[in-house]
Symmetry: C2
């Protein structure tokens, strides 16, 4: 038990919740370590949505509602932390939700899917094919989901799948707290914000933004500026 | 399986090793998340021992060999990552090693102890008493170990035990990758370096440094300077 007077009580209880999700198999043990990595970067942006991240979230909303076949790619950490927030974003946008796991087993695929469904998410299912060229199970996806998506929202992702999707010409929106990560640098648009803050913000913007032509919305995006903004925030915290 | 061509292969395999230690119970699930947090800060100092950290390691060596009753406090992550390095430091300094766990159960105490012993560490055992005033099991320690130590080396520790030990007048050397943490700010001397780099460096300096009067060695230590150095390194990385 973490004592309530512990100065990092909130962060430690979120960590305990993820640890519980790991005990049940929803989150992989490696996913727990990855969560900690994110915690550090969140700490450096002050555990709040910066002005620049909010602007990226508004743009993300515009991209999602402009896409013909947007897909939200969900892994174990994502599902454990934000199943409800994913359901809400799906309701507003009609985006497909597909489960894609780094540490993939049939058991975990089912468990993550069940957890999402229990929170009201409609999850794509079917027979996976290796449509993304990766020497790894993350290359497996559904032909009617990520396989034919024009836009993919990925969160808490690692770099090489993002790279492969971009090479396939897809628009990738990444939610990633590390502005130096390969995912952050390679995505069309990177939101440097914590998942459970970013998703509701995107959902809210989806209700106020207007759709446009997807490539015309994507083209002028200066992702480097968003990354530079995040780096500056972090440097200011490190003084 | 992590593909060998993955750009973060090394970091991910260390993470897998810790995950395996978590499966066996040596490392707590929360400890896995804490490891990830450390990974992020290590990444920010370039995953190397900075010049300033090396200077802190030299000072740490001088403090340890000057102490009458130095104790190395070891938790699950510490043991899983660096049992051999702890054994080597103990051989050179004769320091006592005591196990102190955040997520303490009798099973884990025994498991961590057995793991250390298997790597040649002499581990203090006995009947613990709550000699450190904390509303938490970390307050439990051995009267002949941390209870009567003049110097305690802590690694991968969280803040309030460090604070309590300092209030008791003990000299605390912390190995902590986060220069903003309470442990880092409250310790007598903080080494901002990764554990398996820091311990061998301290051990090597123990063989070349000369002992002095402990309080005279400790008094002029300007820990804020070491922290400022680490923060500057991290800021430079975030450009």
């Amino acid at each position: 038990m973490i004592p309530r007077d512990h100065p990092r009580y909130r962060s430690l209880t979120v960590r305990e919740a993820l640890a519980a999700a790991a005990r049940s198999g929803l989150v992989s043990l490696e996913g727990l370590a990855a969560h900690g990595r994110g915690e550090a970067f969140d700490y450096l942006i002050g555990e709040r949505t910066t002005e620049s991240a909010a602007a990226a979230e508004r743009l993300a909303a515009k991209l999602i509602i402009s896409a013909k076949r947007p897909v939200i790619s969900v892994n174990g950490n994502c599902a454990a932390l934000a199943a409800q927030e994913i359901a809400n974003l799906q309701k507003v946008t009609g985006a497909a939700v597909e489960v894609n796991l780094f540490h993939r087993t049939e058991d975990r695929m089912r468990q993550v899917t069940d957890h999402l469904v229990a929170h009201g998410v409609k999850v794509l299912t079917g027979t996976c094919e290796r449509l993304v060229p990766l020497a790894h199970d993350r290359g497996l996806c559904l032909p009617e989901g990520i396989g034919s998506a024009d836009l993919i929202l990925v969160a808490l992702e690692d770099g090489d799948r993002c790279e492969a999707l971009r090479k396939m010409g897809r628009i990738v929106i990444a939610i990633d707290l590390n502005p130096l990560s390969r995912t952050a640098r390679l995505a069309t648009l990177t939101i440097v914000d914590e998942l459970t803050r970013a998703l509701p913000a995107i959902t809210a913007f989806c209700e106020t933004e207007r759709a446009g032509d997807l490539s015309e919305v994507a083209d002028p995006i200066d992702n480097k500026k968003f990354l530079a903004d995040a780096l500056r925030e972090m440097r200011e915290r490190l003084i």
